[in-house]
Every structure is written in structure tokens, then in C-alpha cells.
């Protein structure tokens, strides 16, 4: 491959895109320049708001023209400037010369059209082919992306496929006309680690075979380590650094890149003192949760979301529950808080079994277990000030308004926010700040057990590191027992004393974090650890 004499597939020169008036900065992206050669994977990395998606959508011509206006620079696709092309010309190029894969395979496909027909649609638009030739081509492409039984799957609807299969359909759709450029916008972020590993492998394999240039947008340095040839780092709409993968990952020069890479949690658990056996805060015995029921018409379709789960959580320790989607980890968390009712089993809190307790009696125990959810954008009521959200719980349990207020102020300081901010509304805070507020809200109840259900999964890596530190800090300060639910093995390695690995509702392995990571016993644990992106890379610290 001779990169110097080849025209790059994509070359972006000094591209600036204006934000609408009243935004927090003038440009969505400013003076962005980079290029992507044939058979090259260039990762665009950055946190939310860095402008990486705007860059991709500007190239595709999919930005809302009223709000985002490219005001300077050039986008050269095979040497042709895309800015200044008419809508019709852009439509011809989309799909034929450049394809795109999106983040959410669940919503990116039309739910009412057969997946095969959705791929065929692109041939219908751009290629002059008979219906039977189209179908043949679609099936070949589906084979190419390793979908099982493509002839049969052609007639499936999206909801009948798994997340990984849908993403393969998206890739087939983007690549069926063999465009020179593939733009992948966080294509594996919504997938489980083992599926993610397969899809990354597929993208790498296909682009190598077809010589496609790939713009791969991600926030995950593990993924970068696995897939990138070159890396472009963006911050607040500007490119701050670019270089080959090894340069960026092992010797970053810009402080922002250093900070980002330094925030990636290590897969090696730190050495932790073995805590002495403390008082049991929460205990679950033979916990079962079964969904679905055998109806008069339905064939019995039962999902055993949790089967005979046993757990003991002591004060002052963090127990991690890790697993992929459908493993039952969130079911367990929600059962022990009684947000959902377990089918059978015991849940002991402070020596009392609350598993089947009536709601009226349960109220007193609700205070002892608090939960922080994944999505800080939806777990706070947008119409109430954060102060109102924080004091609501304690006041329900009899605290006077002034006492609750002073407790809320104190907690705001502890989670690193100004007490004055209590009068503001959730939309006035960033995601990380909101998650801090959610933690303060949980702590205001003075619980014994804090459950973090994917509490840091939606956060940018630098913010994630801060929130993890905060969780660790409050656990120590209040001598809490913490149940930490996560799909992210890196995060689990850093915060958990012990971990439980779940697969399809069953706990397959349990032990001290360092031992499980160093010497996994169950094949599923091993496959999870092997699939963790960037496991062989040592990130610069």
C-alpha cells in the first residue's frame, strides 16, 4: 500500500461549522483537518461535546442545515469537495461513495420493513438492477458480514434479531455498494463486550478485504487500541492531537490526550487490603425472579431472569455484579431494593426478611437501601429543583424542612457541588454533575446499602473517573455497603472488592476481584475478560 501517491479517500481541510446563536460556543467544530487513506482506520476520539459526531454528519451531509452551517474549509471525498454540492448530488454520494453505521442498532433499522429489503433499498436507489439481482446481491453481502442463514434472515424483521446481528445488517447496508468511505459512529458502544469484539473484528476484516477507508468515532480507548491505524483526538470542537495509534496511546503529547488516556480504568485490579469481616448489611438467599406466565393461549414462555442467586454484602465493602445484557444483574439489583418483587427467596436487611413484605411495612426499609441509576438525564424530575429532589426523601421519613435543607447543603459539598446550586433545575447541570446529585439524593436517606446500577456507564471517561472516586469516598466516609452493577470490567476492576459474574440469570463465578481477574475459573468469565477491548495495550499513565 502506497499511501503517499494515493489520493486519500477523505481529506478534511480547515473545516469549521457554526453553531446557532445562543449556544455555549461559537463553532461546533473549528479548523478541523485530517485525512483518511485507502484501507486505513482513523479513530476520532473525544468526549461528549467534542464535535466528533458533528464532523461525521457534516461529511455525510446529514446535519440540520438550519442549525449547523459549515462556514469554512473543504471536505474532499476522492478529491471532490462535498461542500457546495446540491442535495441531489449529496444523495447520490450517500450510500454509493460513503456509507454510515450508527450507534444504536435497536433504533437505526426500520421496525416494519424486512431487513433484507432494507439492504436492498440502497441498491434500488443507486444501482440499476432487477429485483432478483438485488436480492442475490443482498444475500451475498449478508454472507460477507457472517450473518447466519442469510436466505432465511432476509425475511426477518429487526426485532427478531439480536443487537449484534442488527449491527451486522447495518454494516451490510453501508457496504453493499462497496463505498470508499465507511463512517462508523460509536458502532459498538451499545453492544455487549463479546459482541463488540466480534463486530470490531468484522469491520477490520471487511475493510481490509475491500480497501475501505474508515472513520471510526468512539469515546473508548480500549476500542481505539484494538482497531485504529491512526487517531485524531478532539476537544471542544478542535483537533488537539493526531498521530499513529502507538504514538497516541503510549506517548501522547497534548495534556488533554494524556488526561483522557490516564483516566481509562486499568484491567488490573489494584492491591486492596482484605477487609475484616464486618456486620452483614444485605443478604439474599436463593433469590429467583421469573418473568412471563403461562396463559390460556400462549405457549408458556418463561424467562428466568435470576436463578438461585446468593449474595452477602457487608458494611465497608463493594461487591460487583458483572455480566452482559440479559445476564440478570439489574434484576438482582432491583429485587433487593424491591423495585420489582422476587418470585421466591429471602432478602435480609438488618436481620429482617423483606422479600415478600407488604408495601406498608416495607416503607421503613426503603430508607436503608438506596439506588443510583444509569441515566442521570432521566432519573431526576426535570420540573423540580435538585434541592427539592434531595430533601423529598428525608422529609417523607419525618425530617423537618430546615434539617433536610441543611443536610442537602452538606451533601452537595461532599459530592463536590456548591450548596447554592440546590435551587437550580437538572437541565442546568452536566451529566457528571447530575450523577453527583443522584448520589447526594441517595445519601440524604442515610442508607446502609448503596446500589449503583451502571451508575458510571453513561459518563465520559474523565468524568467517570471522578464519579468513581466519589463513590469510593462516600462508601468509606459512611461505612456503606455498596452493590456495584456494571458491564464494564475495567470499572469493576478498579472499584470492587469482590465480584460476582452472572450469565443468563445464574451466578457462574464469585470471588475476590484480584483473584477472579488473575485466574478466572469459568469459561464465560474468561471470554468476558478476553473480549475486553484493548486488553493487551498498556495505556500511558
Amino acid at each position: 500500500m502506497n499511501e503517499i501517491s494515493d489520493t486519500p479517500v477523505l481529506e478534511i481541510k480547515g473545516l469549521s461549522v457554526l453553531l446557532p446563536d445562543g449556544a455555549d460556543r461559537e463553532f461546533a467544530i473549528e479548523e478541523v483537518s485530517f485525512s483518511i487513506g485507502r484501507s486505513e482506520i482513523v479513530c476520532i476520539v473525544g468526549e461528549s461535546g467534542s464535535g466528533k459526531s458533528v464532523t461525521a454528519f457534516t461529511v455525510m451531509g446529514l446535519i440540520p442545515k438550519k442549525d449547523l452551517v459549515p462556514v469554512a474549509g473543504e471536505i474532499l471525498l476522492h478529491g471532490e469537495n462535498l461542500l457546495g454540492k446540491s442535495d441531489r448530488q449529496m444523495r447520490r454520494l450517500r450510500g454509493e461513495k460513503m456509507g454510515m453505521v450508527f450507534q444504536e442498532p435497536m433504533t437505526a433499522l426500520n421496525p416494519v420493513i424486512k431487513v433484507g429489503d432494507q439492504i436492498a433499498e440502497i441498491l434500488e436507489i443507486h444501482a440499476n438492477m432487477s429485483a432478483s439481482a438485488r436480492k442475490k446481491r443482498v444475500i451475498e453481502t449478508m454472507e460477507d458480514v457472517s450473518l447466519p442463514e442469510p436466505v432465511k434472515m432476509y425475511n426477518s424483521y429487526p426485532h427478531q434479531l439480536s443487537g449484534g446481528q442488527r449491527q451486522r445488517i447495518m454494516i451490510a447496508m453501508a457496504l453493499v455498494l462497496e463505498p470508499g468511505l465507511l463512517i462508523a459512529d460509536e458502532p459498538t458502544t451499545a453492544l455487549d463486550v463479546t459482541t463488540q469484539a466480534e463486530v470490531l473484528e468484522l469491520i477490520r476484516d471487511i475493510q481490509a478485504r475491500h480497501g475501505t477507508g474508515v472513520m471510526f468515532i468512539t469515546h473508548d480507548f480500549g476500542v481505539v487500541a484494538d482497531i485504529a491505524d491512526r487517531v485524531v483526538v478532539m476537544q471542544n470542537g478542535k483537533v488537539v492531537e493526531q498521530g499513529t495509534r502507538d504514538e497516541i496511546l503510549s506517548a501522547p503529547s497534548h495534556p488533554y490526550t494524556k488526561m483522557l488516556i490516564g483516566s481509562v480504568p486499568s484491567l488490573t485490579p489494584p492491591v486492596r487490603p482484605i477487609p475484616e469481616i464486618a456486620e452483614t448489611a444485605l443478604e439474599a438467599k436463593a433469590l429467583n425472579k421469573t418473568y412471563g406466565r403461562v396463559g390460556f393461549f400462549e405457549k408458556g414462555r418463561l424467562v428466568k431472569a435470576a436463578q438461585n442467586v446468593e449474595l452477602i454484602l457487608r458494611r465497608g465493602e463493594t461487591l460487583g455484579v458483572v455480566g452482559e445484557s440479559g445476564s440478570g444483574k439489574s434484576t438482582v439489583a432491583r429485587c433487593v431494593v424491591r423495585l420489582i418483587d422476587p418470585t421466591s427467596g429471602d432478602i435480609n436487611v438488618a436481620g429482617t426478611n423483606i422479600a415478600q413484605m407488604a408495601e406498608s411495612e416495607l416503607r421503613a426499609y426503603r430508607q436503608k437501601i438506596q439506588i443510583v441509576f444509569q441515566d442521570p438525564y432521566r432519573s431526576l424530575n426535570p420540573r423540580r429543583t435538585v434541592g427539592q429532589s434531595i430533601v423529598e426523601g428525608p422529609m417523607n421519613f419525618g425530617l423537618s424542612g430546615t434539617e433536610a435543607q441543611s443536610r442537602a447543603e452538606n451533601l452537595m459539598r461532599i459530592v463536590g457541588l456548591a450548596p447554592e446550586a440546590l435551587t437550580r433545575f437538572p437541565h442546568q447541570f452536566s451529566g457528571g454533575q447530575r450523577q453527583r446529585i443522584c448520589i447526594a439524593r441517595a445519601l440524604a436517606m442515610e442508607p446502609r446499602v448503596l446500589i449503583a446500577d451502571e451508575a458510571v456507564s453513561a459518563l465520559d471517561v474523565s468524568v467517570q473517573a471522578q464519579v468513581l472516586r466519589l463513590l469510593q469516598d462516600v462508601r468509606e466516609r459512611y461505612d456503606l455497603a455498596m452493590l456495584f452493577i456494571t458491564h464494564d470490567l475495567r470499572v469493576a476492576a478498579q472499584i470492587c472488592d469482590r465480584i460476582m459474574v452472572m450469565q443468563r440469570g445464574v451466578v457462574v463465578e464469585e470471588g475476590r476481584t484480584s483473584e477472579v481477574y488473575a485466574n478466572p475459573q469459568h469459561p464465560y468469565t474468561r471470554s468476558l475478560l478476553n473480549a475486553a477491548p484493548g486488553r493487551e495495550t498498556n495505556f500511558a499513565r
Partner: protein, 314 residues
């Protein structure tokens, strides 16, 4: 899928039973003696007694109920008190105009409202959108009879391009004569449904246009027109079809007024005449008839979901 259809069809049985019982009890539980009402102010006690006997009101309730259900089972809705004709015959005679008026109204409404709503959604915020919304508000606000008389005044009396009123059966007078007589009633009856369905279509399509798969379609290079037709409308169909179905079911109120305004001898007029004459068997028969139509339409709406959304099918 067949299981779903079977399930849905079977689930109408309890509804039918409840409707039959309700209609039966309504007459028995209504305040006052229907026989006395029928007999009129100057009737003697013997007259009332004779009518009671004739209606079978002197028997025990379970016996009456048994007779009523047996009668229904043999397809008999009873006999009208004044015309002495079987209720089924009366309904049969009046069915054609109402059925055809409903049909032209639905076709006209859907042909106008769905494209209008889709256009408004696609051009959200533009003058077209504002015009559609304004029309919707106006359509909701104008009473059916006012609109009917305005249309008669302008189109039939001033411009004289359409007949003022009356009904001509397409089977006797030919299709064009029928259609000319149907234009004004159809427009009158349609306006409120166009307003309703255009609004619903606009909201539904606008929501769908925000979906990720619409973005995917754009990324494929699909044209905006085909995105609307292929991707947006079919996904937006379920709420739209629901409202269309409800509209048909609610149409009976509009039909009564419209048929009176345009002097069309349909079921709406029959309802009006029966109520004014307190002809209980006819009222009873009509309620039952409309209830069954309503149940049937709801069934068809539910079954149409399986056509629009495969997630319900499997």
C-alpha cells in the same frame, strides 16, 4: 399470527354478550313504563295493559330475557310499533344511503387528511403547516348543521353547481347522479374528520421523522419523498388508523344531523324518527345494530395493526 387473529375475534364475544344484556336491561330499567309512553296521554288503563301484554312486559324478567335472546338468535330484532314492519326490514331499507354516505366520507377524509397531515409534518413550522393547523381548529369549531347550510347556500343556491338536497341511489340513477348528490353531504360530514385526522397524522409523522431509521434512510441516499412514503407513513400508521376507526364509529352523530340537513332517507333519519316517536323496538334494534358495527370496526382496526406492524404479528 393466526393465533392473534383468533384471539382477537374470540375476545369480541364477551363484548357482544354485554351489549345484548345492556340493551335488554336498558328498556326494563328506564324510568317510567314504556307501555304508558307508547300508549300516549289519552290512553285508558286497558290500552296500556294491552300494550304491556303485546310487548311481553308482564312476564318475569328471565323469561323476557330468554325470549329476547332467542329472538335475536333467529335474526329478528322485533316489530316496529307504529309502522308494524319488522325492525330488520326498516334498517335494511335505510342502510344503503347511510352506508354509502359513510363510505364516501371516509374515502374523501383519508384522501385529503393523510396527505395534508404528512405535508404539514414534513414542512413543520412553514405556512402550509400553519394553514393545516388553522383549518383543524376551524373544522373542530364549526357545527355540522351550520356548515351544511353554508355549503348549500354557496354551492347549490348561489352557484347552482350542485343539487340542494335529496338522495339518488347509484343502482337506480347511475353513479354520477349519485355522486353529485353526495358531494355536499360528504363535504359537510368530512370536515371535522379531516381536521381530526390531519392533526393526528401530522403529530404521528412528525414524531417518526425524528427516529433513527429515518436518519439511516437519509444516509442511504433515499429521497425525502420516499422517506415519507416508505419509512415514515407506515410507521405512523397505527395511531392514524386508530383515529380513523374511532372517527367512523363516532360518525353516527354527524350522520343524524347531515341526513336531516340534506333530507337523505338513511339510518340517521330513522334514529331521529324513532326517538321522536318513542318507538322502543326500533330504538333498541338500532342501538344493537350500531353496537355491532362499532365492535366490528374495532376488530378490523386491531387486525389492521398486524398488517402495519410486524412486531404485533410475531
Amino acid at each position: 399470527m393466526y393465533l392473534y387473529i383468533l384471539k382477537r375475534v374470540l375476545s369480541t364475544i364477551p363484548v357482544v354478550v354485554i351489549v345484548v344484556l345492556f340493551v335488554f336491561l336498558m328498556l326494563r330499567l328506564a324510568p317510567g313504563d314504556p307501555a304508558a309512553v307508547i300508549a300516549g296521554d289519552y290512553a285508558t288503563a286497558e290500552d296500556v295493559e294491552r300494550i304491556r301484554e303485546q310487548l311481553g312486559l308482564n312476564d318475569a324478567i328471565p323469561v323476557q330475557m330468554y325470549r329476547w335472546i332467542a329472538q335475536l338468535g333467529s335474526g329478528d330484532l322485533g316489530t316496529a310499533i307504529f309502522s308494524k314492519l319488522p325492525v330488520t326490514t326498516l334498517i335494511g331499507q335505510r342502510l344503503e344511503p347511510t352506508l354509502l354516505l359513510s363510505l364516501t366520507t371516509i374515502v374523501f377524509t383519508v384522501l385529503i387528511a393523510v396527505p395534508l397531515g404528512t405535508l404539514a409534518a414534513y414542512k413543520a413550522g412553514s405556512w402550509i403547516d400553519r394553514f393545516v393547523m388553522l383549518f383543524s381548529v376551524a373544522g373542530f369549531s364549526v357545527p355540522v348543521f351550520v356548515l351544511g347550510y353554508i355549503l348549500i347556500y354557496v354551492l347549490a343556491m348561489q352557484l347552482q353547481i350542485l343539487p340542494v338536497q335529496g338522495y339518488k341511489s347509484p343502482f337506480e340513477h347511475g353513479f354520477w347522479v349519485f355522486l353529485r348528490h353526495m358531494v355536499l353531504p360528504t363535504m359537510t360530514l368530512s370536515v371535522i374528520y379531516i381536521a381530526l385526522i390531519a392533526r393526528m397524522t401530522r403529530a404521528s409523522v412528525q414524531e417518526i421523522l425524528q427516529e433513527d431509521y429515518v436518519r439511516t434512510a437519509r444516509a442511504k441516499g433515499q429521497s425525502e419523498f420516499k422517506i415519507l412514503m416508505r419509512h415514515a407513513l407506515r410507521n405512523a400508521a397505527v395511531p392514524i388508523v386508530t383515529v380513523i376507526g374511532l372517527g367512523i364509529a363516532l360518525m353516527i352523530g354527524g350522520v343524524v344531523v347531515t341526513e336531516s340537513v340534506y333530507n337523505i332517507p338513511g339510518l340517521g333519519r330513522l334514529v331521529l324518527d324513532a326517538v321522536l316517536a318513542r318507538d322502543y323496538p326500533v330504538i333498541q334494534g338500532l342501538i344493537l345494530f350500531f353496537s355491532f358495527v362499532y365492535i366490528l370496526i374495532n376488530l378490523l382496526i386491531d387486525l389492521s395493526y398486524t398488517f402495519f406492524d410486524p412486531r404485533i404479528r410475531y
